[in-house]
């Protein structure tokens, strides 16, 4: 039987060489334009559109006719085919067996002409000339017919009464022999609502029924199915559309699906949060501003007024910086005897008096440093007089105790000077009187009978000191104005010996005329400190006064640092007297103790040592440590 079967398919005659060559040539041509690709003159030449086998038993090929109607003729266009069987090609091209059954411009191959798994080649000829050619195997061109007999059944209705599931069934295309398994089909179902435009697709299935879930009861649906051969990709045509009309929703069904308005909730949530955020921001504007944009610290050096820097008072700035330059904690430890001599730098009252001793020895004017307005909370420093340690509690510190005790009796002495200065000031600078008052109304000392320089400090202690000093005018007479420093204790306390009275007899009040001339020259010389005397000179000079007044407003603002002018003024008043005394009447056993601006400043015995004026730079009675070292071996 196999041999019989083979007879029709196996062509024992071998092809001739020429035929084989021709075949290869045509096949090469076919290969180059393999899949139904259009040629240049697509409109003129007939060409194949498609070849299709619906059930793997027959196939048909279709072509387009050329637009040249004149040439259109049933016989003019011909189709020839050739197929290879058992490794041999049949010799000749055979013509199409059926031009009719598949329609116009088609060729139908019935089952006797169809061989599966055998390569075919077909060619289209027009007036003898080949116009198109293609090769294929029948199992590759399978495109099944559409399924038939679609119907649906209701599976169930959801509890809400809104949705339902249905089962759709159909029959395979009648010509496909799926029953015997000759062809295996896969089906794809598509459905949509009647008024929609997009079809929903389901996954391909091998069975002929498929459930469709979750259809709405109040809507009508359309369903259609198409099939393809398993392992192929080409689908056949769609079946007829099946209309699914679901039963109406029962009146007891739930109402319309409540679709949670997520969108609205999100919008409102964001809006609300934004409002809250804004409220928060506006209420805490300041704080948030601080958080986001922390204030850049204004460049500041302790004890220096920024306005001073702005106004470009270089001289004062240099002085102040110089002061601060030497003013470092580590200096404290260098020389033991440089250790702090704690002075009670009292208020301006005392300075104006010129009672260094008082200052040195008195202990209840520890707050006099406040005159300068600078504050310092560095409790480690023992120096009593530093521009920015004004808050140091001298009462508590041991260093000061010694001095304060000794200086106590001297306190009253200062009042003489105070009174003197009072006189002087009135003579010299009426402007200074007025300006501090107006600009520092908070200062208690802003009274006519008090020396103006005192007012420059804004601290109350100063005022108190002034008060106390003023209150004891009588005691002044018994106290030496100057005291000699006989020794300095290791702790830094200064031991004073009672000194002679001021032999000068010249009240410090007589100084003013000399002051002016020396001011500019010497004021900035001493980089470690400046003399009260020098400062005082400067005060009397008009320009300084003005500067002073200008500075005061700023001084008022900041209590923790002092202006050069304030220093000047505070130091100035008290310095004059000493200067006068020291220059004219060097008394062997006294030293003038001035406000020490830096830890290195010291009080020296003016008479014992030669006083090279130039070396000391200023007429002050104190020298820096360096100078001291030069003098003393």
């Amino acid at each position: 039987m196999i041999n019989d079967m083979c007879d029709s398919a196996c062509a024992p005659e071998g092809p001739t060489g020429m035929d084989l060559w021709q075949l290869l040539l045509t096949l090469a041509v076919a290969g180059s334009g393999s899949a139904f690709s259009g040629s240049e003159d697509s409109s003129e030449k007939p060409k194949f559109t498609k070849c299709r086998s619906p059930e793997l038993e027959t196939f048909s090929c279709h072509w387009t006719d050329g637009v040249r109607h004149g040439l259109k003729n049933a016989g003019s266009v011909q189709l020839f085919y050739i197929r290879r069987s058992t490794q041999e090609w049949t010799q000749e091209w055979k013509e199409c067996p059926d031009y009719v059954s598949a329609g116009e411009n088609s060729c139908y191959f019935n089952s006797s002409y169809t061989s599966i798994w055998i390569p075919y080649c077909i060619k289209l000829t027009s007036n003898g000339g080949t116009v198109d050619q293609k090769c294929f195997s029948v199992e590759e061109i399978v495109q099944p017919d559409p399924p038939i007999g679609l119907n649906w059944t209701l599976l169930n209705i959801s509890l809400t009464g809104i949705h339902a599931d249905i089962q759709v069934r159909w029959e395979p295309p009648p010509n496909a022999d799926v029953q015997k398994g000759w062809i295996v089909l896969k089906y794809e179902l598509q459905y949509k609502e009647v008024n929609e435009s997009q079809w929903k697709m389901m996954d391909p299935v091998l069975s002929t029924s498929v459930p469709v879930y979750s259809l709405r009861l109040d809507k009508e649906y359309e369903v259609r199915v198409r099939s393809r051969q398993r392992n192929s990709e080409k689908y056949g045509e769609f079946s007829e559309v099946l209309y699914v009309t679901l039963p109406q929703m029962s009146p007891f069904a739930c109402e319309e699906d409540f679709q949670f308005p997520w969108f609205l909730i999100i919008i409102f949530g964001i809006f609300g949060l934004t409002m809250i955020l804004f409220l928060f921001i506006f209420s805490k504007q300041q704080r948030i501003k601080m958080l986001i944009l922390p204030p850049v610290p204004v460049p500041k050096i302790k004890g220096i007024d920024p306005d001073l820097l702005k106004e470009g008072k270089l001289e004062e700035v240099n002085t102040i910086l110089a002061i601060h330059d030497n003013y470092k904690p580590e200096f404290y430890n260098d020389d033991s005897w440089v250790e702090f001599i704690e002075l009670d730098i009292d208020d301006l009252d005392e300075k104006t008096e010129g009672s260094d001793t008082d200052r040195l020895l008195s202990n209840d004017h520890e707050k006099s440093l406040n005159i300068l307005g600078a504050k310092d909370d560095d409790s480690g420093r023992t120096s009593c007089y530093e521009p920015d340690i004004l808050e140091t509690d001298f009462n508590a510190s041991d260093v000061c105790d010694g001095t304060s005790e000794v200086a106590q009796p001297q306190r009253l002495k200062g009042e003489v000077d105070l009174l003197c200065l009072d006189q002087k000031n009135q003579n010299n600078s009426p402007s200074t009187d007025t300006t501090p008052t107006t600009q520092q109304p908070s200062i208690i000392l802003a009274k006519e009978n008090k020396p103006r320089p005192l007012l420059i400090s804004g601290t109350e202690s100063t005022q108190q000191a002034a008060h106390t000093q003023l209150s004891n005018p009588s005691s002044l007479a018994n106290i030496d104005f100057y005291a000699q420093v006989s020794d300095i204790t290791p702790a830094g306390s200064v031991v004073l010996s009672p000194g002679q009275k001021n032999k000068a007899g010249i009240s410090p009040c007589d100084m003013p005329p000399e002051v002016a001339s020396l001011c500019q020259a010497n004021f900035i010389m001493d980089n470690a400190y400046f003399c009260e005397a020098d400062a005082k000179k400067c005060i009397t000079v008009a320009p300084h006064v003005e500067a002073e007044s200008r500075v005061e407003p700023s001084f008022n603002q900041e209590d923790i640092y002092i202006t050069t002018e304030s220093l000047t003024t505070t130091a100035g008043q008290s310095g004059t007297t000493e200067r006068a005394v020291s220059s004219e009447m060097p008394v062997p056993d006294y030293t003038s103790i001035h406000i020490i601006q830096s830890p290195r400043g010291l009080v020296l015995n003016a008479t014992a040592l030669p006083l090279p004026d130039k070396e000391f730079l200023s007429s002050c009675g104190y020298v820096s440590t360096d100078q001291l070292n030069k003098i003393m071996p």
Partner: protein, 225 residues
Amino acid sequence: SDNTAGSLLLLLLLVSDLLLCQSVASLPICPSGAVNCQVSLRDLFDRAVILSHYIHNLSSEMFNEFDKRYAQGRGFITKAINSCHTSSLSTPEDKEQAQQIHHEDLLNLILRVLRSWNDPLYHLVTEVRGMQEAPDAILSRAIEIEEQNRRLLEGMEKIVGQVHPGIRENEVYSVWSGLPSLQMADEDTRLFAFYNLLHCLRRDSHKIDNYLKLLKCRIVYDSNC
């Protein structure tokens, strides 16, 4: 991962084989038409059809994968003129022929085709492994097909033993001589050889699947599928 997957699969198959063998080996081979056989022909055919269906799916996918990956733009369109080594086996070319052929003959043909593919499948696996950037999709499928083909062959031999007990024909099969072309140095030639082989495999697995389904309908259901 291929190796582990392959070995796991082998293990699975082995286990299922053992289970199958347990049910089969201990039972006498059922003569045709006997009703007392434990392992019915129906089950054998069911399993055979499942296997052939599976092999055809795998080979289709493998061919598509190869086509997509290697054959694009290479002009392997001349697939129509390729010749498969099993073409010499005169198998039925359409449904009528397949229905007319005697089922024993058809079974033998199937066996011959299956045997013819033992060698090519073995070498296919080896050569695909050696391909540059050996694609996992193709390699895994090749390994799987080789395995399943062997199993199908065994199943078919059992079926033949049931349908035609006693008749053991000589083991006839087509010799495959395509190995040299698979190992060609020239890449184009080599790739075309692969393409050809995979195309033939797809075709032959389709043939066997169809034949077996027809046979199942004829033998098991007596043409009343």
